[in-house]
Amino acid sequence: MAGKKYEYLYHIADAKFRAFGATLEEAFENAALALFNAMIDTSKLKALEERKIEITSPDIKMLLVEWLSELLYLFEVDGIIFSEFRIDKIEKKGGKFSLKGKASGVPIDLLYHKFDTQVKAVTFHELEVEQDKTGEFWIQVVVDT
């Protein structure tokens, strides 16, 4: 797995991917990267605008869904294609999980940006947040397109 940030898996109607990271934060960041690259190649996009994101959830899987859903919401409402993600810390406190982070990207310009598809939502179906024997984290997500 070394060096691989994410990979897409087969799903008939929708997009399914796995994201990896040496830390949980990195795996969450790579899941966000996989999410946006399912819609458009973000590798050449400039990260000009930034949004700060803070989320608290009852469990780690819900935290992941809410993190990705918030990015989709900002993508649609603020019209930003995010390509860089930074999560400072994922914490467990008083039985709840929280994250603080930011996402940066470029405002949508329909003349230049050609989307392959639109991710509508992040589902709980086959959702996984796991740590393997080597200590590496992996995440599995099915999104509705």
């Binding site: 897409y8 087969y10 799903h11 008939i12 109607a13 929708d14 997009a15 819609m39 009852p58 899987k61 819900m62 869904v65 809410e66 859903s69 919401y73 649609e76 409402v77 019209g79 949508i108 329909l110 940006h113 050609k114 989307f115 392959d116 598809t117 639109q118 509508k120 939502a121 992040v122 589902t123 709980f124 179906h125 086959e126 959702l127 099915v142 509705d144 397109t145």
Partner: protein, 486 residues
């Protein structure tokens, strides 16, 4: 054969008749009713294992009646299968956002014209170009309407009726919509600010994915008597609009999945898949979702109504005539939950029927069928995929017996969107379709590749199962001549 399809489906399923296969109760622990899949032996070959798992998961939900069902176009989704029908008792059952899906009231409408295919075909390229520009589509596209907060609230409340009263259509349009274009239970107060923000700039937009606007013609008439009442005859041009509630609906589903996820724990409901999150149907959480879902459904009816208006304007401008007879034949939802009365074991019961990728198909005489169609049954509109035929059917009493008054919703995927892009090349498909007389205009070629005709089950095959079962009967076949896609 699709990846993940079942090699030994026949050994798992019990054959009831040529088009009905049951998943026995012992297939999965916790099943309260058997699963029932309506397919031909040929469609059975492309049925995925995941679809069986998902149907049997639905069968474990509290208060489920008769069977967890899958229509002939069924394929695996997330939580509930796509092409799924499940009814839950009002008092002992549940309601689930996953049983409706993210695109609340994704649906289809057909508008007729008095133009013939020979009149329209020569200018098709220019006409489709005009429609592509007049009706915004694709990721990031914005509406031409700047809706105010109060207009948005009105649309959530009154759906297509709001649109017509705002000048987008005529009053006959709402009479020809399922629910007369709006569910009265809707409560915009149950819709989040986030859903409002997503919905506000998107009125009258098609969206992306499998949504489309298609110019079609009547290629074959199966039942001339019914066709005449529906106002359809051979060679006539029609327009089909397939879209839903856009970001507003997605956000409503998203919001309530989280709320119902907590409710699932609160009410001690055991779930095999978290995406099936649900609450007792009559609980506060369940009803709040139902009222918000209805608001989302109304948004979708308003959306299709606004698009209809722009389609009429475009045709009038293009043909320089305003006597084109562009009446709405009907508008159906295929992602929705409804409280309906059904007869179960000779007893009349109120049930929440969840149709996720399934079309309501009510019989002759049903009070919810518009008066002009009541003798014949509800028009059932089944869109094809890009380049394949669509169908109009009519409802029958048998659907009430077998499927809670439901039929299929389309042709059903057999290949993933990702696989489609590897396998098909958008520009090549565009050329092939052009040779067959179908003009496609999309935002760019890969959109065409992922919706290529080859990624769907043949629509004829799916509709024939519905027809043979008798849960709806074929009236006409519509062939596309022009398609716009997001």
């Amino acid at each position: 054969m699709a990846d993940g399809s079942i090699k030994d489906a026949a050994s798992i399923l019990t054959k009831v008749n040529d088009y009905t296969w049951d998943i026995p109760m012992d297939y999965k622990p916790g099943m309260r009713v058997p699963g029932r899949i309506f397919v031909s032996s040929k469609l059975l070959e492309s049925l995925e294992h995941d679809t069986l798992t998902q149907v049997s998961n639905v069968a474990t939900l509290p208060g489920i009646q008769k069977f967890a069902m899958a229509m002939p176009d069924a394929h695996s989704g997330y939580g509930f299968p796509i092409g799924g029908v499940a009814a839950f008792d009002r008092d002992t059952g549940i309601i689930s956002p996953g049983g409706v899906g993210y695109d609340i009231n994704c649906g289809v409408r057909i508008i007729k014209t008095n133009l013939t295919v020979d009149e329209v075909r020569p200018g098709m390229k220019e006409l489709i170009e005009l429609l592509f520009h007049e009706i915004p589509s694709g990721v990031g596209s914005k509406s031409k309407i700047r809706a105010s907060d109060s207009e948005l609230t009105d649309a959530f409340l009154h759906g297509a009726k709001w649109a017509v009263e705002s000048g987008y259509g005529v009053k006959e349009d709402v009479e020809h919509c399922e629910e007369n274009g709006y569910m009265k239970i809707a409560d915009p107060g149950k819709v989040s600010e986030k859903a409002r923000k997503r919905g506000k700039p998107q009125f009258g937009t098609l969206g992306s994915g499998n949504h489309f606007l298609e110019v079609q013609y009547v290629d074959e008439v199966y039942d001339p008597e019914v066709a005449e009442v529906f106002g359809l005859h051979k060679g006539q041009v029609t327009v089909m609009i397939h879209c839903g509630s856009r970001g507003a609906g997605h956000q409503i589903c998203d919001d309530y999945l989280k709320i119902l996820d907590r409710a699932t724990h609160k009410y001690g409901i055991q779930l095999p898949d978290r995406q099936l999150a649900c609450a007792p149907a009559e609980s506060t959480e369940g009803q709040n979702y139902y009222k918000a879902m209805a608001a989302g459904a109304n948004y979708a009816w308003a959306n299709r109504q606004v698009i209809t208006h722009w389609v009429r304007e475009a045709f009038t401008r293009f043909f320089r005539r305003d006597d084109l007879g562009m009446d709405l034949i009907y508008d159906v939802a295929h992602n929705v939950a409804k409280l309906e009365e059904h007869t179960i074991d000779t007893e009349k019961k109120m049930v929440y029927v969840h149709r996720k990728g399934a079309t309501r198909a009510f019989p002759p005489g049903h009070p919810d069928v518009p008066l002009i169609y009541r003798k014949l049954g509800q028009p059932v509109l089944i869109p094809g995929s890009m380049g394949t035929p669509s169908f109009v059917l009519h409802g029958t009493p048998k659907a009430m017996d077998l499927t809670f008054g439901s039929a299929c919703h389309g042709s059903g995927r057999v290949s993933s969107r990702g696989a489609a892009k590897r396998e098909f090349h958008g520009e090549t498909i565009q050329k092939e379709l052009a040779v067959r007389g179908i003009c496609v205009r999309a935002t760019h070629p890969s959109i065409i590749a992922e919706e290529a005709p080859g990624v769907y089950k043949p629509s004829e095959e799916v509709v024939d199962v519905v027809h043979q079962l008798g849960i709806a009967r074929k009236v006409v076949k519509l062939m596309p001549i022009g398609v716009t896609k997001g």
